[in-house]
Subunit: 214 residues, 2 copies
DNA sequence: CCACATATACCACTAAAGTGGTATACAAAA
DNA sequence: TTTTGTATACCACTTTAGTGGTATATGTGG
């Protein structure tokens, strides 16, 4: 039942590696089986050892963490990957997760928290510290808010048609759906483009998708 | 230092309200000062009492939680709002957070966790349970991955043009940017639409934006 | 070397999209 | 009541978009 987790440590600071390795190796169920100080090495070691988990520093010189992450995925390394970094920028967090990291831990975490995360991640669970949760949440929040004012300038009809445009519907199809003539649809499109300051339905569609007009 | 938090409870299950109210009122620093069983009531009560925090059920009959949430924001209710629900669907979580909820708690949380969340939220902090963190994270993850296979079927040129289409560029503009004729651009557009199984550049643009082709 | 994929180009044609103008009906606001 | 905003409609016209076909040059993998 006590499954042993084999860990690859990737960080360009030897001292930090020492410290973390020591911490990890004190645990009976965890051990650092390899270390790397840059992305290229990381990939080699990952392929050679196929560790259960890779602890990956984001801010490395040379091939950075995100690139390394992508490269690892591309190289069919199946290890779980936890990003380990000082950065709590929204950008970094979301990008790391999008590219397939199983977790994201800040370097100033308590040792116990780090160990807990390592154990969970090694089992394939996704872990995120509470602080980062909040960053993620506000990232999502900001995603929707902008330029709502423009939407308010549109009439109900225009908004309705904007939504259909963003579905890819042609004027003809829109006309059929709303049971009005195509000519009328064109008028609404014309008005909505003018209000939004856009030059084509394509721009309108992109706008609608980006600002999640639904 | 012991600030007292006044809470509005919104849920259409009287029994659940009873239980939660009892739990909250046992705490010296928290009290339920009003209850509502639907969205309309919630808004009235919120305006009347301006509570520090609103605990809002998502799955109410009639005006649902999300609508209520929006209406509350529109009504300039400045209370912190925590969504309290049985649903852990990605859709619900992200929508609630986008619309300005300060937190999201599942109804099957432990009482202590609920109280902890209430206290944090009342102070304006954003709280999200660990389970939901994972849902959020995988939401972000999925956002980028799908249908990459389709992209791989496109030639470099087609991909390049797809990107420009998603910027709203016309064929003429694309031709100028790439220094090829408009006719050639049309050919590429034709091919890329065929490969993607789409019927117009609008659909392609929407597709590109949604799957973040950049 | 040959076959295939890619990028390019031109053409003619059809189909959508977008513009400008005019007009009617209705409801809400001034 | 008059004005304004909205939704609707029709029309003529221009511009874009999309299709089908043919063709050439280049490079890559069998």
């Amino acid at each position: 039942m006590v499954s042993h987790s084999r860990i690859l440590l990737v960080d360009d600071h030897p001292l930090l590696r020492k410290g973390v390795a020591q911490l990890i190796n004190m645990e009976p169920d965890l051990s650092v089986i390899a270390e790397a100080s840059n992305g290229e090495q990381a990939i080699q070691e990952a392929i050679r050892h196929q560790p259960d988990l890779i602890l990956l520093d984001l801010n490395m010189k040379g091939m950075n963490g995100i690139d390394t992450l992508q490269a690892l995925k591309k190289a069919d390394v199946t290890s779980n990957i936890v990003v380990f970094t000082v950065s709590d920028s929204e950008e970094d967090v979301t990008r790391a997760l999008k590219f397939g990291a199983n977790g994201y831990i800040l370097k100033d975490s308590e040792p116990e928290v780090l160990l807990e995360f390592i154990r969970k991640s090694a089992k394939g669970e996704m872990v995120l510290s509470q602080q980062l949760t909040q960053i993620l949440a506000s990232a999502l929040k900001n995603e929707s808010s902008p330029e709502k004012t423009i939407l308010n300038q549109l009439t109900d009809r225009e908004l309705e048609i904007l939504k259909l445009i963003s579905l890819g519907d042609s004027n003809k199809i829109i006309a059929r759906k709303l049971d009005i003539t195509e000519g009328t649809v064109k008028v609404h499109v014309k008005h909505l483009l003018r209000k939004m300051g856009l030059r084509s339905r394509v721009e309108a569609a992109v706008w609608a998708v980006e600002y999640q007009v639904k």
